[in-house]
């Protein structure tokens, strides 16, 4: 696989979608700054969390649809694939490019989160392991959406996954309530405890993401049409 070629293809997507990506990247610090600026009132904290959550969900939808589905729908895929590009470089560019953007966005979300939780009486530094698990779920959701999108090139299936993401977004708060009490105890602590259960869940998230990426490459290899 030609790394330089993959880079050119990634930069192409970043350039073509630079404005929405920048918009989303800005929304996340705003999500953190708003509660920090206006104090720890519940309303501002909720607003920050809502912006954060919606931005991540929007990103899960937006990147695969804009860079993969629309490329096919707009008939620009034949232009790209008629250039000296292999399916591996194309697939790698889509996966790595999207993961880089998603990773940076998640990093911004991580940077925004302390501001959201800073003035909370119920949360302290000890909440980080649980937040890592939640961000991990977003990553899995994103990788699955990306993989399905690349393999099926189907708007329908991407929308189905997108809907599942929205359902997940609504389930976040009830899910938090179902977290075992001994983990919740850590939330108000200043000490970060990487409990065994948390590490297992994080491990599963990493494995699932890697399996989906490997599966995507395997299925792309079998694909016969790039139109």
């Amino acid at each position: 696989m030609n790394v330089a070629m993959t880079k050119h293809l990634m930069l192409k997507d970043l350039y073509l979608h630079r404005y929405p990506i920048l918009g989303l990247a800005l929304a996340l610090p705003v999500a953190g700054i708003a509660p920090a600026l206006f104090g720890g009132e519940t309303m501002w904290r909720q607003m920050g969390l809502t912006i954060l959550n919606n931005s991540l969900i929007y990103l899960i939808f937006f990147l695969p649809i804009a860079t993969i589905i629309m490329e096919r729908r707009n008939h620009t895929l034949p232009f790209v694939m008629s250039l000296p590009v292999s399916y591996k470089e194309y697939t790698a560019a889509k996966l790595i490019g999207s993961l880089v953007v998603f990773g940076i966005t998640c990093l911004l979300a991580v940077l925004a989160l302390p501001a959201i939780v800073a003035r909370s009486e119920q949360l302290a530094r000890g909440v980080w392991p649980v937040l890592a698990v939640i961000i991990g779920v977003y990553v899995v959701l994103f990788v699955v959406t990306l993989g399905i999108c690349l393999v099926t090139e189907s708007f329908f299936w991407t929308m189905v996954l997108g809907l599942l993401s929205v359902v997940f977004a609504f389930l976040v708060f009830p899910l938090l309530e179902s977290i075992p009490p001994h983990l919740i105890e850590h939330w108000t602590s200043e000490r970060i405890v990487w409990d065994g259960e948390v590490i297992v869940v994080l491990g599963i998230e990493v494995l699932v993401s890697m399996a989906v990426i490997a599966g995507t490459f395997a299925l792309q290899k079998r694909k016969k049409d790039f139109l």
């Binding site: 350039y15 073509l16 620009t76 000296p84």
Partner: protein, 297 residues
């Protein structure tokens, strides 16, 4: 020995409602092949296989001596492709597209690209979404030509172009041919375009190759004969001759194996040959399709 720019051996591709059925075809280096066929004949599928957009189910495709799709990256370095249904990025400028393709094609010739910009009267800062159809076609051709490909594969490049734009595009293709090593595979439903620039004519219909021949001898082999057939005479069975309907005693015969001796055969049967007319490529195309489908001309 002649080197082949293209060699297809028993090429097959099946879709639910269409099948490319064992295409065998050769294009010598430095030649221009015009691929003619009705909608859904298999022209685009054949061309897409040649640039790796679609993979064949069976048979072999060799492009510039390399096998497709296994050597597709190397093949695509030496091939320029433009298709009627291929689009550029609407929100990006022509210059951005040029820079993008230049970053991918090591043989990109910026001087040639600039010359093409001038020739096609394109402004590099213009965004694709603001271009007319003709300008978009020219921009696509510029991107396909600027790395000076050894083989150009053009799928209906002149569709929807006004006569001036068509003339410019065809003129550029003629210029490309001034370099005798370059080859072109060119599909069009406009038989005038094909007749103008092709050395070899290939007919394809319903996924099958019907004819592939040198243009001059091919056009020369087709004739339309206007006959006056007295009621007492009957039409002779001649190889390669198809009789059309006629009014009264007048009949029209079409042949793809014309020889001067043929007129004598009619006269011997008591039939008067009123005229022997050359046929245009469009008329030949229609006759060939009718012949292959078993429809009377």
């Amino acid at each position: 020995m002649t080197t082949q720019a293209l060699r297809l051996v028993g090429l097959e591709k099946a879709y639910p409602d269409f099948k490319l059925d064992g295409i065998n075809l050769e294009l010598p280096e430095g030649s221009v092949m015009g691929l003619i066929g009705p909608n859904g004949a298999g022209k685009s599928t054949t061309m897409r296989i040649l640039v790796g957009l679609v993979q064949q189910d069976g048979g072999q495709a060799f492009v510039l001596g390399r096998s497709m799709p296994s050597d597709q990256v190397a093949v695509k370095r030496d091939v320029g492709f433009a298709s009627e249904d291929m689009r550029l990025y609407a929100q990006a400028s022509i210059r951005w597209h040029m820079d993008f393709v230049r970053s991918i094609h090591p043989d990109w010739d910026e001087n040639h690209a600039q010359a093409l910009l001038q020739r096609f009267d394109l402004q590099p800062h213009h965004k694709v979404k603001g271009l007319s159809h003709g300008q978009r076609v020219k921009a696509t051709l510029l991107l396909a030509l600027a790395h000076r490909p050894k083989l150009l594969i053009l799928d209906e490049p002149t569709v929807g172009l006004d006569p001036v734009a068509r003339h410019e595009v065809l003129g550029e293709l003629m210029d490309v041919l001034s370099d005798t090593d370059r080859s072109i595979l060119f599909s069009s439903q406009n038989t005038q375009d094909v007749e103008q620039i092709s050395d070899i004519i290939t007919f394809i219909d319903r996924g099958r190759l019907i004819e592939s021949q040198d243009k001059e001898s091919y056009l020369d082999s087709w004739r339309r004969l206007r006959l006056e057939v007295p009621t007492s005479a009957s039409l002779p069975e001649l190889a390669g001759v198809v009789y059309g309907r006629g009014k009264g005693t007048l009949r029209v015969a079409t042949t793809n194996r014309f020889e001067p001796a043929m007129t004598q055969a009619f006269q011997s049967a008591g039939i008067t040959v009123q005229s022997v007319e050359p046929m245009t490529l469009e008329e030949i195309f229609l006759a060939t399709v009718h012949l292959s489908r078993g429809v009377p001309g």
